[in-house]
């Protein structure tokens, strides 16, 4: 006993003295955003943060975790609770040192859970106003940077910029946030001189808004604040609305965010989200470097800046001499090539995500800002990137799908020369064999981008190849265009991949195809047996006995057909049972990842964002791995099918797992149209289907597999959108037979 204790002491001492030698624990930052991952403001804040943190992230000194509440799509308290559970399980063992919240909903979410989640973390806020923090009762608890944008400087300058202005229209959406902006504008517009009347167009449907904006007289202007939500409840990115409004409006549009610049908005007093992201990152690092400062301080807003779009100023005849002295003018390139350069900035930004050019380009871009006067040099640089990029890049006009430019990598990939390619659509060139002109036009009409979409192409020589395709919409010489980047991934579809996808395909389609072939294969012998039996009866009825050899022939046929049917059933059983039914302890996270790997290609092909939300550790479950994989695959494929009518940018499926007392709960949630109310009670019945080509067996089989495992499979009550299926699996420890199963 004594010796045991002394050994423990020695061990503890070793641990204590050794610890400084072990690499220092990383400094963890968790950022929580109110909105969607793709909101331009969020992208800009995140980019600003990473500008500062990237070197430290690379060395591992800092870890950055991110969560998006996506409140417009997932508004309920239940969604919040799920997110909290997720954060707890992901970060619980390694809590963040600093939590950053962006937006009021994120702040509210974290306020209610701070003590349960990460009580020791320092809390910094971004993109919040002081009144909103006071309203939440946290103004004295948090540090960070306020984002109080006053419209007063803008209102003061406006009459100088537009001397003829008589009417100012203030446009806002129907979300709470939009209404707060409206209220602020009502308050602050009083500084405008007498001669200008102010009208508030709040929460109008987008169509009406654009129609009315198109008919404004020349002495009017629009101040567009935000439009997160239409009156019918549809969620929008304010930047997209800005673009639509700018396209139709007959007068200049001003706005308070720099993310609007480039959409056709003229400019205004704006907040730089990127600047804010960088600033917050600095503050987070200050917490790391001076952990003793008990209170992080809440800093005043960054000074407002006037930023304008040169092209719009020119369009509306606003003299740059009338702008405030410290205004920043963007897009001020007169030549086509310089507009091209702006385009290539976007191209570069996208490339960064994927390729090793990341850092080189970022630095290039920063440097380029510094030497902005030397236009020629930068022009050459970006022309060089476009020309020498290993990625095939093309520029396509949104309105008619005509190729405007292609780079040498594109020529090499598709086999068409630049001269023969430009002024034609990809459809005319025949490089997209399974896409019609209609498809292309419909896609362009959505104005959405694509990320890592897998697409089959045909080269000039008629060879089929696979590409990974990303694209985004940009403005080029005043026209809306798509920058399309394509990477040849045919080699990735190599032999091994082909074999894998074959195995996958046969596993995926097992249920569907089996049922169809069962029906056919069993029906044939059954039909013949019945006719033979009926023939026998007909003979008996007629009173003319059949000759013995014919009786023998009939019976032989019946026997053979019976055996034929039995053979079909035996085969099916074998397939479904995998012959061996073994239950092994399996890590559910591994099982889910394996199933997701099988579905990855399918997800990319169908434009679905497939996401796993798994806690860091999950207890093992006692299951037949292949069968449960089959259930997961089946549920996710159902979700994919349901998403077919959802627009490409909004297709998402989330697979989440949570450990409960004696079981593990796995959820598959989609953003599709949901299950029709009249089908909800029957979807688990055999042969009930809502799909045009479904057999109605997938869910029935899945449920029976789960039940055989001692779990349950059910459909959660309908929420805002989409369907959620949930099933449970027994934990190894919770299973009464656990010891005997192996």
């Amino acid at each position: 006993m004594r010796s045991w204790r002394s050994w423990t002491l020695v061990f503890c001492w070793l641990l204590l003295t050794a610890s400084p030698l072990i690499a220092a624990e990383p400094f963890r930052i968790l950022q929580i955003y109110s909105n969607n991952r793709l909101l331009p403001a969020n992208l800009a804040v995140d980019a600003g943060l990473r500008e500062v943190l990237t070197p430290l992230l690379e060395t591992g000194e800092v870890e950055l975790h991110t969560a998006y509440l996506d409140v417009i799509r997932f508004p309920s308290a239940e969604d919040d609770a799920e997110m909290a559970t997720f954060l707890q399980s992901r970060n619980g063992e390694h809590p963040p040192h600093v939590v950053l919240t962006f937006g009021p909903q994120a702040a509210e979410f974290y306020r209610d859970r701070q003590d349960d989640l990460f009580p020791d973390a320092r809390w910094l806020v971004g993109t919040s106003t002081l009144p909103s923090l006071q309203e939440l009762g946290i103004a004295d608890k948090v540090g960070g940077r306020l984002m109080q944008l006053s419209l007063v400087p803008f209102f003061k300058w406006l009459p100088r910029m537009l001397p003829d202005l008589r009417r100012l229209i203030v446009v806002t959406g129907a979300a709470d946030f939009d209404r707060k902006w409206e209220a602020q504008a009502q308050e602050e517009c009083r500084v405008l001189p007498e001669g200008i009347t102010v009208e508030f167009w709040s929460g109008l449907p987008l169509g009406t808004l654009c129609e009315r904006a198109a008919q404004l007289p020349a002495d009017a202007a629009i101040l567009y604040l935000t439009y997160f939500q239409a009156p019918d409840g549809d969620a929008w990115f304010p930047r997209d609305v800005a673009a639509q409004l700018a396209e139709t409006a007959s007068v200049p549009i001003f706005g308070p965010y720099d993310t609007y610049l480039g959409t056709g908005v003229t400019g205004g007093v704006v907040t730089g989200f990127r600047d804010l992201g960088a600033d917050i990152a600095q503050q987070a690092l200050a917490v790391r470097d001076h952990p003793d400062n008990a209170h992080a301080t809440l800093l005043q807003s960054l000074p407002p800046r006037f930023r304008f779009d040169h092209r719009q100023l020119k369009r509306w005849g606003i003299d740059e001499g009338d702008l405030p002295a410290d205004s920043e003018i963007r897009f001020s390139a007169p030549s086509l090539w310089e507009t091209h350069r702006a385009t290539l900035l976007v191209v570069a930004g996208l490339l960064l995500v994927q390729t090793a050019l990341v850092i080189g380009l970022l630095l290039g871009r920063a440097r380029q800002k510094r030497i902005q006067r030397d236009l020629r040099q930068s022009e050459q640089r970006f022309s060089g990137i476009f020309q020498s990029s290993p990625t095939a890049i093309s520029l396509i006009r949104q309105s008619d799908g005509i190729l405007l430019d292609v780079n040498p990598s594109w020529e090499q990939l598709f086999g068409h020369g630049r001269d023969e390619a430009i002024h034609h659509t990809p459809i005319e060139l025949g490089i997209l064999p399974d896409v019609s002109f209609e498809d292309l036009r419909n896609f362009f009409a959505t104005g959405r981008g694509l990320q890592n979409f897998e697409q089959a192409i045909r080269t000039q020589t008629g060879e089929s190849r696979w590409i990974n395709l990303s694209c985004d919409r940009i403005q080029l010489a005043g026209e809306e265009c798509y920058v399309v980047m394509a990477k040849d991934i045919t080699d990735r579809h190599s032999l091994e991949e082909a074999r894998e996808s074959l195995a996958q395909a046969s596993r995926l389609s097992l249920v569907g195809e089996l049922t169809a072939s069962i029906a056919h294969e069993i029906n044939q012998p059954l039909a013949a047996i019945l006719s033979n039996a009926d023939a026998f009866f007909a003979a008996l009825r007629s009173g003319k006995p059949l000759p013995p050899e014919q009786i023998q022939a009939i019976i032989e046929d019946i026997r053979r057909d019976d055996l034929r049917a039995a053979e079909v059933i035996r085969k099916v059983r074998n397939l479904l049972r995998h012959q061996r039914i073994e239950r092994d302890p399996v890590d559910p996270a591994m099982l889910i990842r394996e199933a997701m790997r099988l579905l990855r290609h399918d997800a990319a092909r169908r434009g679905v964002q497939l996401e796993c939300r798994l806690p860091q550790t999950l207890p093992s479950v006692l299951v037949d791995r292949q069968q449960i994989e089959q259930v997961l695959v089946n549920l996710v494929l159902n979700a994919f099918d349901a998403l077919q009518i959802t627009p490409v940018g909004s297709r998402s499926v989330i697979v989440a797992a949570v450990a409960m007392a004696e079981r593990c709960e796995i959820k598959v949630q989609d953003t599709g149209p949901g299950i029709p109310a009249d089908s909800r009670d029957r979807i688990f019945d055999s042969f009930h289907t809502t799909k045009p080509n479904g057999m109605g067996l997938g869910l029935a089989l899945s449920r029976s597999i789960i039940q055989q495992h001692g779990g349950k499979l059910w459909l959660l009550p309908e929420k805002a959108s989409g369907a959620t299926f949930c099933f449970t699996l027994p934990l190894v420890s919770g299973h009464p037979d656990a010891l005997f199963q192996r």
């Binding site: 029906a519 056919h520 029906n523 044939q524 012998p525 059954l526 039909a527 013949a528 047996i529 019945l530 006719s531 033979n532 009926d534 023939a535 009866f537 007909a538 003979a539 007629s542 014919q550 022939a553 009939i554 046929d557 053979r560 057909d561």
Partner: protein, 213 residues
């Protein structure tokens, strides 16, 4: 007793044998075909009264076979017997004139009922075809001019209007109409109209001022 001739197209040999036994015992003259092309090659030679077709044939599917038969103007009632019947194909089959669409396995009573209906329909169609061909022969006896007058008559025109349209005298129109009655044996205008409809003869286009109002 007349033995009706029935042709069965199915790719399952066991099914073909069983159906032959059953239908022979029910006094049919049964002809078996293992593919759609066999059927197309042999149905006229066999002088079939009725066809019993599977949907799932190795070369053409049953619906395509039905379509070919229709285009060859075969007076042959069709009954489908299918293992994979779905609603769209059954609708298409019936719309294209199939008598019934049975699914495997089928009971003797249901099969016989459908075949009897098919025989009756086939008989009706043959009577109709014979009558039509007799009528057509009579119409073919008309001269070009008489046929022209006939088309005006069935358009509901009076002799006076016909004369004006064709640029002949009213008396000549009357002579033509008499000849028409003699050659076709059709006396009243109503009979002429009904016959023309059955043979798909188009009435003459309306001319002149009488119809301007």
């Amino acid at each position: 007793m007349i033995r009706h001739r029935i042709g069965i197209a199915d790719d399952d040999k066991s099914q073909l044998r069983a159906l032959r036994r059953l239908l022979v015992l029910n006094d049919f003259d049964v002809h078996l075909f293992e593919s759609a092309h066999d059927f197309l090659a042999g149905y006229e030679v066999a002088k079939l009264d009725c066809a019993l077709l599977d949907l799932d044939l190795p070369d053409l599917n049953g619906l395509e076979l039905q379509d070919r038969l229709r285009r060859q103007a075969a007076v042959l009632p069709v009954v489908f017997l299918s293992g994979v019947g779905d609603i769209p194909s059954s609708v298409q089959a019936i719309r294209n004139g199939a008598i019934n669409f049975l699914t495997k396995p089928v009971e003797e009573s249901a099969l016989l009922e459908a075949l009897q209906l098919a025989m009756a329909e086939g008989a009706k169609a043959r009577v109709e075809a014979t009558e039509k061909s007799a009528l057509r022969k009579r119409i073919q006896r008309l001269t070009q001019r008489e046929f022209e007058v006939l088309r005006h008559v069935i358009a509901g025109q009076l002799n006076k209007q016909i004369a004006a349209d064709l640029g002949i005298s009213e008396q000549t129109v009357k002579v033509h109409r008499m000849r028409i009655t003699e050659k076709t044996g059709l006396i009243s205008v109503a009979e002429l109209v009904r016959t023309a409809e059955r043979l798909s003869i188009a009435p003459a286009a309306m001319q002149g001022t009488a119809f301007a109002a």
